[in-house]
C-alpha cells in the first residue's frame, strides 16, 4: 500500500512511537535494573537446592532449572562469583 494515506499513517505511527519513547525513555534503565534484581533473586531460589540449601519446593523448582541455564553465566558473574557455583554445570 502506497500513496499519501499510507505515508500519513506512517508519520502518525512515528509520532506515537516518539511519544512512547518520550514517556518510557528516562526511566527505562531504572525499571530494567529493578526487574533484573527480581530475576536474580528468583534465580537464587530456583538454584537453592543445587547450591546445597534445602528447598521445600525443590520438586517444582527443579522443573524450572533448565530454563535458567542460559542466564546462569551472567547471573553468577553479577553475583560476584568468578566461576560457576554449580559442580555439575561448567559454563565458563
Amino acid at each position: 500500500m502506497t500513496g499519501p494515506a499510507a505515508r500519513l499513517r506512517e508519520r502518525w505511527a512515528a509520532v506515537r512511537a516518539g511519544l512512547e519513547e518520550f514517556y518510557a525513555g528516562p526511566y527505562r534503565t531504572t525499571m530494567r535494573r529493578a526487574r533484573r534484581e527480581e530475576d536474580d533473586l528468583f534465580l537464587l531460589v530456583v538454584l537453592a537446592e543445587a547450591l546445597g540449601v534445602p528447598d521445600p519446593a525443590a520438586y517444582y523448582s527443579a522443573e524450572v532449572l533448565p530454563a535458567t541455564l542460559p542466564e546462569l553465566h551472567a547471573w553468577h558473574r553479577r553475583m560476584g562469583m568468578e566461576a560457576s557455583p554449580l559442580d555439575h554445570v561448567g559454563c565458563c
Binding site: 514517556y23 525513555g25 527505562r28 525499571m31
Partner: protein, 566 residues
C-alpha cells in the same frame, strides 16, 4: 521600550548562536563525525545504551535540564535591571551553555558514554571523582532546600495554586495506572491528563486556599515546608512508575505548553518594559552586580548540572555523533528561551516603574512571585485569560517544576548517601538513607529561620556550586581539546570567566553569611571554596601536562578506553 524588541533581539541572538557558533564548534573544534560509532551502537544493551531519535532525545535532554531554576534565577537577577540579565542569558547561552553542554556530550561520547566523574579520572586525576561526588551532593542538597522555599512562597503568595499543585500528584498517580495497569493509549492519557490538570487549575482559581495561622501549631510557612519534605520523601521511595515517571512526563508537556503561552502572549500584547535597563537605585543591601549576577543566573546561562545530564544519560543514547549539535547545543538554547521568557515576564508585566519597584523591594524579594504576577498580566493582555487565572497557571507550572526537582533530588541524594555508606563499609537501607537526606535538607532549610524566611540566601550559593561544576566540566573539555591538538580557546575563555566569577562570589558570600549568622551555609561555603581551589589547581596541572604530551589520535583513545574498560 516594547518587550517585543527584547524578544526579537534575544531570539535572533540564540538563533545566530545555533546556526553559526554551534556549526563552528561542531566542525572545527569538536569535529563531530557522522561516521563515528557512538556508544549507543557500540555498547547497545537495551537498558542504558539505546540509539534514540534525535528529536526525542532532545526532548528528554531539554526537559531534564529545564525546570524551575531558569525561572527563579533571572526573576531574582532583574533587580539589577533588565539589561545585565538579558545580556548574560543570551551571550551566556550562545558562548557558554551551548558550548559546555555540547562539549560534555562530545567528551562523553568519545569515552564510551562515561560520566563526567569518570572522565575526570582520565583527564584530570583520580581524586577528581570524589570531588565530583562532593560537589554533586551539595548541589542536590541546596536545590532541594531552595525549591522548598520557592514552592512555599508560591503557595502563600498565590493561594489559588494550592489545589492544582497538590492535585497534580493525584493526576500523575492516575496517569501511571492508566498506562501500566489499564493499558490506555499514551495519546489519550496525555490529553486526559493535561485536561485534568487544567481543570484543577480552574478549580483552584475558583477556590483559593489560605491556611489558618497557626495550622497544627505551626505558621503556614513552616507547615508547607514540612509537608513538602514529607511528600518528597514518600515520592522518592515509591516505585518510579507510580509517580515520578508520569509526573516528569506531564511536566515535560507542560514545559512546551508554558513556553508557547508565554511567548504567544508576549507577541500578541507586546507590553512595555517598565523596569530600568540598569537599575541605579537598587534597594539597600543588594549585593554588587559583579560577580553576583553570574551566580544568581546559573541555569539559563551556564549550568554544570547540564554536564551531568549530557554525560550521564544523553551520551548513551546518541544515534550519530553529529546529532550532538542539536541535542546538546539546542538543548541549551531551549533553556535560554525559558530564561528569556522569565526576564520578560518579570520586567514587562507591570504597569509602571513604581509597581515594579514595589515588588523588588530587596534582594531575593520578587523572584518567582514577580514572574507569576508579571507573566500573569502579560498573558491576560495577550490571550485575554483573566489575570488571576493566568497567574494560577504560571504558579502551578513553577510549583510542578520545582516539586519534581525536589523528589528526584531526594531520590538521587539517597543513592549518594548509600554510596558513601558503602565506602565506609556500612549497609544503609533506603528508608534510613532517605531519613538522613531529609533531616539534613530540612535542617538546611530551617537554618535560616523557622519560616524558611532566609532560605533564598541559598540561591546564590547554589549558583556558585553549579558554576564550579561547570568549571570542572569545561576543564575536562579543555584538556581533551589540548591533548587532541585542537584550539582550546572556546573552552578556556568561558572556563576562566566562570571560574573567577564563581570563586569571587563564594568569597564575598563568606562575609554576608557571617553577618547573617547562618553557620550551616557558611560551612558549606567554606567547603565550596576549598573545592574550588582544588578544581583550579588540578585543572592547571592537567593542562600543563596536556601541553607536553604528543597529540592523541582516535587510536590512542581506543587503547586508553580498553585499559580502563577491562
Amino acid at each position: 521600550m516594547s518587550s517585543l524588541w527584547l524578544l526579537i533581539v534575544g531570539l535572533a541572538m540564540l538563533a545566530g548562536g545555533y546556526l553559526l557558533y554551534s556549526r563552528f564548534l561542531a566542525g572545527r573544534v569538536y569535529r563531530l563525525d557522522p561516521e563515528f560509532t557512538t556508544p549507543a551502537h557500540e555498547l547497545r544493551d537495551g537498558v542504558d545504551f539505546v540509539p534514540t531519535n534525535k528529536y526525542v532525545l532532545w526532548g528528554h535532554h531539554f526537559t531534564s535540564v529545564a525546570g524551575a531554576a531558569p525561572i527563579v534565577g533571572p526573576a531574582v537577577a532583574v533587580i539589577w535591571g533588565w539589561l545585565p540579565a538579558f545580556l548574560w542569558v543570551t551571550l551566556g547561552t550562545v558562548f557558554f551553555a551551548g558550548m559546555h553542554d555540547l562539549g560534555a556530550l562530545w567528551a562523553s561520547v568519545r569515552n564510551r558514554g562515561r560520566s563526567m566523574g569518570m572522565l575526570s579520572g582520565r583527564y584530570i586525576g583520580a581524586r577528581g571523582r570524589n570531588l565530583f561526588l562532593v560537589v554533586i551532593y551539595l548541589l542536590l542538597l541546596m536545590v532541594v532546600a531552595a525549591f522548598a522555599v520557592v514552592i512555599k512562597n508560591l503557595l502563600l503568595s498565590t493561594p489559588s495554586a494550592v489545589i492544582p499543585a497538590w492535585g497534580a500528584i493525584v493526576v500523575a498517580l492516575v496517569v501511571g495506572q492508566m498506562i501500566y495497569r489499564w493499558g490506555v493509549s499514551l495519546l489519550l492519557t496525555t490529553v486526559l491528563g493535561v485536561a485534568a490538570l487544567y481543570g484543577l487549575i480552574l478549580l483552584g482559581d475558583a477556590y483559593p486556599i489560605t491556611l489558618p495561622d497557626p495550622v497544627l501549631g505551626m505558621s503556614p510557612a513552616t507547615f508547607w515546608i514540612l509537608t513538602l519534605f514529607v511528600y518528597a520523601g514518600i515520592a522518592s521511595l515509591l516505585p518510579v512508575w507510580v509517580l515520578l515517571q508520569p509526573r516528569d512526563y506531564i511536566n515535560g508537556v507542560q514545559l512546551f505548553v508554558g513556553l508557547a503561552i508565554l511567548y504567544g502572549a508576549t507577541l500578541l500584547s507586546a507590553p512595555d518594559v517598565v523596569a530600568p535597563a540598569v537599575n541605579d537605585q537598587v534597594p539597600a543591601g543588594t549585593p554588587g552586580l559583579l560577580p553576583l549576577l553570574f551566580v544568581t543566573i546559573a541555569c539559563g546561562a551556564i549550568s554544570g548540572f547540564h554536564g551531568m545530564v549530557s554525560s550521564g544519560t544523553s551520551s548513551k543514547q546518541l544515534d550519530g555523533e553529529d546529532d550532538a549539535r542539536f541535542v546538546g547545543y539546542f538543548g541549551a538554547v531551549g533553556e535560554g528561551l525559558l530564561a528569556l521568557g522569565a526576564i520578560i515576564a518579570a520586567t514587562a508585566g507591570y504597569a509602571t516603574l513604581a509597581d515594579w519597584q514595589a515588588v523588588y523591594t530587596a534582594f531575593n524579594e520578587g523572584g518567582v512571585a514577580a514572574f507569576v504576577q508579571g507573566g500573569g498580566s502579560i498573558i491576560n493582555a495577550g490571550l485575554g485569560i483573566p489575570a488571576s487565572l493566568s497567574a494560577t497557571i504560571l504558579a502551578t507550572m513553577a510549583v510542578l517544576f520545582a516539586a519534581t526537582t525536589m523528589d528526584t533530588g531526594v531520590r538521587l541524594q539517597r543513592f549518594v548517601v548509600q554510596e558513601i555508606g558503602e565506602v565506609l563499609g556500612l549497609r544503609v537501607g533506603k528508608y534510613l538513607a532517605t531519613g538522613i537526606v531529609l533531616v539534613i535538607a530540612v535542617g538546611l532549610t530551617f537554618s535560616a529561620g523557622a519560616g524558611g524566611d532566609g532560605g533564598m540566601r541559598i540561591w546564590p550559593l547554589f549558583g556558585t556550586t553549579n558554576q564550579l561544576l561547570a568549571s570542572l566540566t569545561l576543564a575536562i573539555v579543555a584538556v581533551m581539546l589540548m591533548r587532541k591538538g585542537r584550539n582550546p580557546l572556546p573552552a578556556l575563555v568561558p572556563l576562566a570567566f566562570v571560574f573567577v566569577m564563581a570563586f569571587w562570589a563564594a568569597i564575598l558570600q563568606l562575609g554576608t553569611l557571617r553577618d547573617s549568622g547562618d553557620w550551616l551555609l557558611l560551612g558549606i561555603d567554606v567547603v565550596i571554596i576549598l573545592a574550588a581551589v582544588w578544581v583550579g589547581l588540578e585543572a592547571v596541572l592537567a593542562m600543563r601536562d596536556a601541553r607536553r604530551r604528543p597529540v592523541e589520535t582516535d587510536e590512542d583513545d581506543r587503547r586508553a578506553l580498553e585499559d580502563v574498560g577491562s
